[in-house]
């Protein structure tokens, strides 16, 4: 039944800002968590949500990312109506979801759809770390898989912006299986020549890092984003030594050959524009 629903096109519903808690705290002034200097909130927003002083990349809502990366008014959301069940009858899970839905104004930890980047159509998926830490449950997996399927049908590239703490505990092994589900979907997409770009933002860890986030034809990340498989604390306990400060940052991964580029947010749209342009026509040997 779910598969039937995505034939309905729906305009992206504007997300209301008023009730939302924000990573950049409400109010006119904001203290940068990195350099501790105080800036006007507007100043940070205008600076691609990065700190004008130290270029710290502030957390962004999915709606803000859409506005920043896609041409204004081009976004059409997919599968907005999908919500989680409680497959393990996990205590208080549904209440927690409801609370996050009210807090963020979105139904789940990911927004998917299509839009244009400087006139070039593309499918996108944007994870929102404010919702259950961006964790991947059945709905996140399903929306990604459906987005890939549609991108394939409509012959669109697929770009994902990850922001996730990993698997969603409350859905147990079903959340684990979303790693496979999304990777299996990407395999078919890739086999049929689809272009997939993974753009990792802070944080991208655990099951998300160990599935679709690492499977891009191009793997990018934002500066200083935390990216890794196992948690720092678990590693420190296992190997009984202190890890360097830059461990599991985007720069650390880049130095170890795991990323194509680390791209600061102000260059995000222009880089994607160029990349999409170079893939517009299939290469002609």
């Amino acid at each position: 039944m779910i598969k039937n629903m995505f034939n309905r096109k729906r305009k992206y519903a504007t997300i209301t800002n008023q009730t939302e808690l924000d990573d950049i705290p409400q109010g006119v002034m904001v203290k940068c968590p990195s350099c501790r200097k105080i800036y006007y909130r507007k100043e940070i927003e205008k600076n691609f949500f990065t700190c004008p002083g130290c270029s710290y990349h502030h957390q962004m809502k999915a709606s803000e990312r859409i506005e920043l990366v896609l041409d204004h008014g081009t976004f059409i959301e997919w599968d907005h109506e999908l919500v989680s069940e409680n497959p393990l009858d996990f205590p208080e899970y549904l209440e927690k979801l409801k609370k996050d839905q009210e807090k963020t104004g979105i139904n789940e930890a990911i927004v998917t759809g299509k839009g244009e980047i400087n006139g070039q159509p593309t499918a996108v998926a944007i994870m929102d770390a404010r919702f259950r830490m961006g964790s991947m449950g059945s709905v996140v997996g399903e929306k990604i898989a459906l987005a890939i399927e549609r991108a394939e049908k409509e012959n669109l590239p697929f770009i994902i912006f990850t922001a996730s703490g990993g698997a969603r505990m409350q859905e147990g092994v079903l959340s684990l299986m979303q790693m496979t589900k999304t990777s299996v979907a990407l395999e078919r997409f890739s086999r049929n020549g689809g272009l997939f770009i993974s753009y990792m933002t802070n944080p991208t860890t655990g099951g998300v890092s160990a599935s679709f986030a690492s499977l891009g034809d191009y793997n990018f990340a934002e500066p200083a984003a935390l990216i890794g498989f196992a948690g720092r604390r678990i590693i420190e306990q296992t190997i009984r030594e202190k890890l360097p400060d830059d461990f599991q940052t985007a720069e650390f991964l880049f130095d170890h050959g795991q990323l194509d580029r680390v791209i600061p947010r102000p260059e995000m749209k222009s880089t994607l524009t160029t990349l999409l342009k170079l893939h517009r026509d299939r290469g002609d040997k």
């Binding site: 039944m1 779910i2 039937n4 629903m5 109506e81 999908l82 919500v83 989680s84 069940e85 409680n86 497959p87 393990l88 996990f90 205590p91 139904n107 059945s138 709905v139 997996g141 399903e142 698997a167 505990m169 147990g172 092994v173 079903l174 959340s175 684990l176 299986m177 979303q178 790693m179 496979t180 589900k181 990777s183 299996v184 979907a185 990407l186 395999e187 078919r188 890739s190 655990g206 099951g207 890092s209 160990a210 599935s211 679709f212 986030a213 690492s214 499977l215 990216i227 890794g228 498989f229 196992a230 678990i234 590693i235 296992t238 030594e241 890890l243 461990f247 170890h256 050959g257 795991q258």
Partner: protein
């Protein structure tokens, strides 16, 4: 000294008692055969009751039983002419994953599995069955080779998880697992995966994307260990027993969640009680699965595998349909 799990203590005590009596009668003229027969009937009943009512936590302990058969144990009884192959061709050979080629019912197959040790020395050599990226990359190399030579892949899953270490992160643990998930989806040969012990999170998943997923009755498959879940959810790792129930990680649970295809029955008292019989049960399951899968064309195989995974999950819609 045999390793006894807490829940099976009454069974073991009664069994010891019977042995004691038998020993006694053989050394003396007293005839206790009637008493022994009664006790043996009682033992049979008790065994059925205890092993027939195992709780999730009992199964967790059984899955971790130090004498539980490992991948290499099963390989010996299920396949012929196993030739182990080593190395990922990039960095090294990870002994936490073993793999190679062998014969199954007269046909060549590729076999891969996590390998833990049964004692400390072996566990150190095998890194407790917790692979580094090179383990997953070796597995992938062998799977691509299987694809090239058109032979089925059979994997055994038995790990607490991929190793959480500094070197593992530096060499791309995430990428190694992710790549296996994707590439296994594209193999045009049948892939059969069998969880024989612990199926620990992404580290288990990294060699368990297939056309058929089976679990031994007393094995587990989970996103996080019960101890880890308890620490995370209730800030108390002593609540592991409760977490084992809440997280639904046993073979029967996974069958109910429609994540696996079937549960492979275990020998009463656990696989370690009779490895030959257990290996035969597994062999039978592999045989019939391969029979079915051989009928499919490459396209059908890939399509069925794709559908199998696209179905997994619990999703609702806010729109009434």
């Amino acid at each position: 000294m045999k390793h006894v799990l807490p829940f099976e203590k009454p069974v073991v005590e009664l069994r010891d008692k019977i042995a004691e009596l038998k020993n006694f009668t053989s050394d003396s003229d007293v005839d206790l055969s009637e008493e022994i027969a009664t006790l043996e009937r009682r033992l049979a009943r008790l065994e059925k009751e205890v092993y027939g009512n195992m709780q999730p936590w009992d199964r967790v302990q059984m899955a971790r039983h130090p004498e539980r058969p490992t991948t290499l144990d099963y390989i010996e009884y299920i396949f012929q002419d196993f030739l182990e192959m080593h190395g990922d061709r990039y960095y090294g050979d990870d002994e936490a994953i073993v793999g190679g080629i062998a014969e199954f019912n007269g046909r060549p197959v590729t076999v891969i599995g996590h390998q833990r040790g049964k004692d400390t020395k072996e566990n150190i050599k095998r890194n407790f069955g917790m692979p580094h990226p090179e383990g997953y990359r070796k597995a992938l190399r062998l799977m691509h080779q299987a694809d090239k030579f058109n032979r089925p892949v059979i994997t055994f899953i038995d790990t607490k998880g991929a190793y959480p270490g500094k070197a593992a992160e530096e060499r791309g643990q995430s990428e190694a697992i992710a790549k296996n998930l994707r590439e296994m989806a594209g193999l045009t040969v049948p892939v059969i995966c069998i969880v024989i012990g612990e199926g620990g999170s992404g580290g288990a998943l990294g060699i368990s994307v297939g056309d058929r997923i089976y679990m031994l009755e007393n094995s587990t498959y989970s996103v996080i260990s019960p101890e880890g879940a308890a620490a995370l959810l209730w800030k108390d790792s002593n609540l592991a027993q409760k977490a084992a129930e809440t997280m639904k990680i046993t073979a029967p649970d996974l069958l109910e969640l429609e994540v696996i295809d079937d549960v492979i029955e275990e020998v009463q008292g656990g696989a370690h009680r009779d490895i030959v019989m257990q290996a035969n049960k597994i062999k039978h399951v592999i045989d019939s699965a391969l029979e079915d899968l051989r009928q499919l064309s490459d396209e059908q195989l890939l399509d069925e595998r794709w559908k199998k995974y696209q179905r997994i999950g619990a999703v609702s819609s806010t729109i009434e349909s």
